[in-house]
């Protein structure tokens, strides 16, 4: 175990290196680019014994990884935003073909308007592609989650790909101190790659992914669903095993001061650090607030979320993606599903879009609104919590057109 200063991308690349992938195909995109560079450096300068495919797009990156996975090796890539959107078609190939790969996704909003910065809209756009999604709060979590991710994905009960999501710039480019185990420790933890679903072998031919009619399609999907269901169980085991070996414990759903809370905020990603700070501050002022941090989003740990929130009077869900046309955001929807037939007053907030910071003052405002709802002094909350005043007039240009 060594201590090092790395940013989120550096930690992700280091973790990937330690998992010894044999084929790496990465296409650069802000804010992921340094992962593509670091992985290339590892391969070029002998720090990783792998084939690096300098692909010409994210679509090809994912395609090459899926095919390499089918040919029986551990494989990886990384992406963000538009890149993830471009991969979309092949994402469901990876999951449908049960390729157990782990891919860092450096969260960044989707155009238009163009943004380079953080929100979860990119990953939410891919949330139903059959990939597991785990969100990280800090650099150490990125590192740890990638190691655990490989073990979860490759478990024969799961055999599904995983996105390890972390906030663009807030985490990808922020230097933090982290603990890095040795190669031997990592080898011992994740084990040598065994291709349990290898199809492309001239010694044992099979045709993979031929046309499947309605007679079998449902069952193929059901097998994936069972893999997803198992992932929640396997993730819990792996997180325990990791904690026992490395002394750091991550949990799928982390509750903080929720037991006696009047109001609780639920969120994904780096802003949980801010939320925890605000919880501590408000507790010190005698306000009974708490937080629930979700690391696991896909498969959605509904039972764990229900257990964590079912007795809380007012719950606010903070979505860092706008999810146009949805009735509230994706995290709210999932949480609402988990809380069916409870008496929780479930509220929704959207904010932090396109890199807009989520400062403590905004978190405090959300908590105060939830507390007022609990006290009966307020009925509605401010859904778009960080919206500027006069939003509809911003960047308006007048133009005259004929009827």
């Amino acid at each position: 175990m060594a201590k090092k200063m790395l940013d989120g991308n550096g930690a992700a690349a280091e973790a990937l290196r330690l998992t010894r992938p044999k084929v790496v195909a990465v296409y650069p995109i802000t804010p992921q680019s340094t992962i593509s560079e670091t992985m290339a450096e590892f391969v070029d300068f002998g720090k990783l014994d792998a084939e690096y495919i300098r692909v010409e797009s994210e679509h090809s990156a994912m395609s090459a990884c899926v095919a390499a996975g089918l040919a029986g090796v551990r494989t990886t890539t990384a992406t963000a935003s538009q890149g993830l959107a471009l991969m979309n078609e092949v994402l469901s190939m990876a999951s449908g073909l049960r390729i157990p790969m782990v891919m860092p996704v450096v969260n960044r909003g989707l155009a238009a308007p163009w943004t380079l910065q953080c929100e979860h809209g990119d990953a939410m756009n891919a949330r139903d592609t059959g990939w597991m999604q785990f969100y990280c709060q800090n650099v150490q979590e990125i590192f740890d989650m990638i190691l655990m991710g490989v073990k979860i994905a490759e478990d024969s009960r799961v055999l599904l790909p995983m996105m390890v999501c972390f906030d663009g710039f807030f985490l990808s480019h922020s230097m933090q101190k982290l603990e890095i185990p040795t190669q031997e420790e990592v080898d011992e933890f994740i084990g040598e790659y065994v291709a349990k679903n290898m199809y492309l072998d001239t010694e044992d031919p099979m045709f993979c992914c031929d046309l499947t009619g309605p007679e079998d399609f449902t069952e193929m999907r059901y097998q994936q669903k069972v893999g997803m269901d198992n992932a929640t169980v396997v993730a819990a085991e792996v997180m325990d095993e990791f904690a026992a070996k490395f002394g750091r414990k991550m949990t799928q759903v982390e509750s903080y001061l929720t037991e006696d809370a009047d109001a609780v905020l639920v969120a994904l990603g780096s802003m949980n650090g801010t939320i925890k700070y605000v919880v501590n501050k408000m507790r010190a002022e005698g306000k009974k607030v708490g937080m629930v941090k979700l690391t696991q989003f896909r498969p959605f740990p509904a039972a764990l979320v229900r257990e964590a929130l079912k007795d809380v009077p007012v719950v606010g869900v903070f979505d860092r993606s706008s999810c146009m046309g949805n009735y509230n955001g994706p995290l709210w929807n999932e949480t609402a599903g988990a809380l069916t037939r409870t008496n929780v007053d479930l509220r929704h907030f959207i904010g932090g879009l396109g890199g807009r910071d989520v400062p403590a003052v905004n978190v405090e405002r959300m908590f105060n609104e939830l507390l007022e709802i609990k006290a009966g002094t307020r009925t509605e909350n401010t859904e778009w919590i960080d919206l500027k005043e006069g939003a509809m007039e911003i960047r308006q240009v007048t133009k005259y057109v004929r009827d």
């Binding site: 195909a25 090459a64 040919a71 492309l200 001239t202 031919p205 099979m206 045709f207 992914c209």
Partner: protein, 293 residues
Amino acid sequence: MLEIKDEARGLISHGVSACHGCGLEIVIRKVMDALDDDVIILIPPGCAALFSGYCKETNVKVPGYQGNLENTAASASGIRAALKAKGNDHTTVLCFCGDGATVDIGLQSLSGAFERNDKILYVCYDNEAYMNTGIQGSSSTPLFAATTTTPGGKKVRRKDLTQIAIAHNIPYVATASAHNIADLQKKVKKAREADGPALLHIYAPCPTGWRSNPAKTIEISRLAEQTGCWINFEYEDGKVTINSKVKELKPVEEYTKLQGRFKALTPEQKVALQEEVTSNYNATMKKLQFMSE
């Protein structure tokens, strides 16, 4: 292991739902006959996907993968990299794609694999339109040919796939036709040995899409070469050898009159098509001659 329900003498089963007189069916068999079973085949969606199989049954005896329409070359790069990582340098990675999957939607990933010099054998069987989806025009559809998305005849000429490939400086590029099987198989064997990517662009008539008599598939293939609508040549390590030896070109009409897709040509268009074919033939031959010296 692969369970053999119906034995076949080659690597492909005999009963495959390709249309009557399918040029592709001839081409895929001849390509596979020229190889052995140390092959991984990648087939994108399209007519060739009929050979992938349906549900638990397949029509090929070698391991195969049906990826997306546009990523066959990228998938092949992934497989080649994985084989290399495992120390396997002998297995052939064969892409078997139609013209749409190659010159339209798949051109980007193909170009990427070419530039990386990944060792893959890429076969484009060219039936000059999207046949499996219902005969829609592609960028390989020739001038004036009617398809369901060019019902009044295509207004522009086709892309030149082989020149695009040659521009990437890959070790082996060749054209071949369904009617000249010895030539085709010789080229498959050479392509397999190339030290990097190899492209085979194979002319494969489609009776259904071209509205021609299925019995005339080979005759049409021959006429394409004899009228100058198709030229067979190979490009090996920078040098071209022209294989088509046509002393005097036959009139294009001998070729077009056998195909319903050219039925609606006006007299002016017939003249224009003849001029286009002749001038393209002459220009291409001149270029190829230059590259053969």
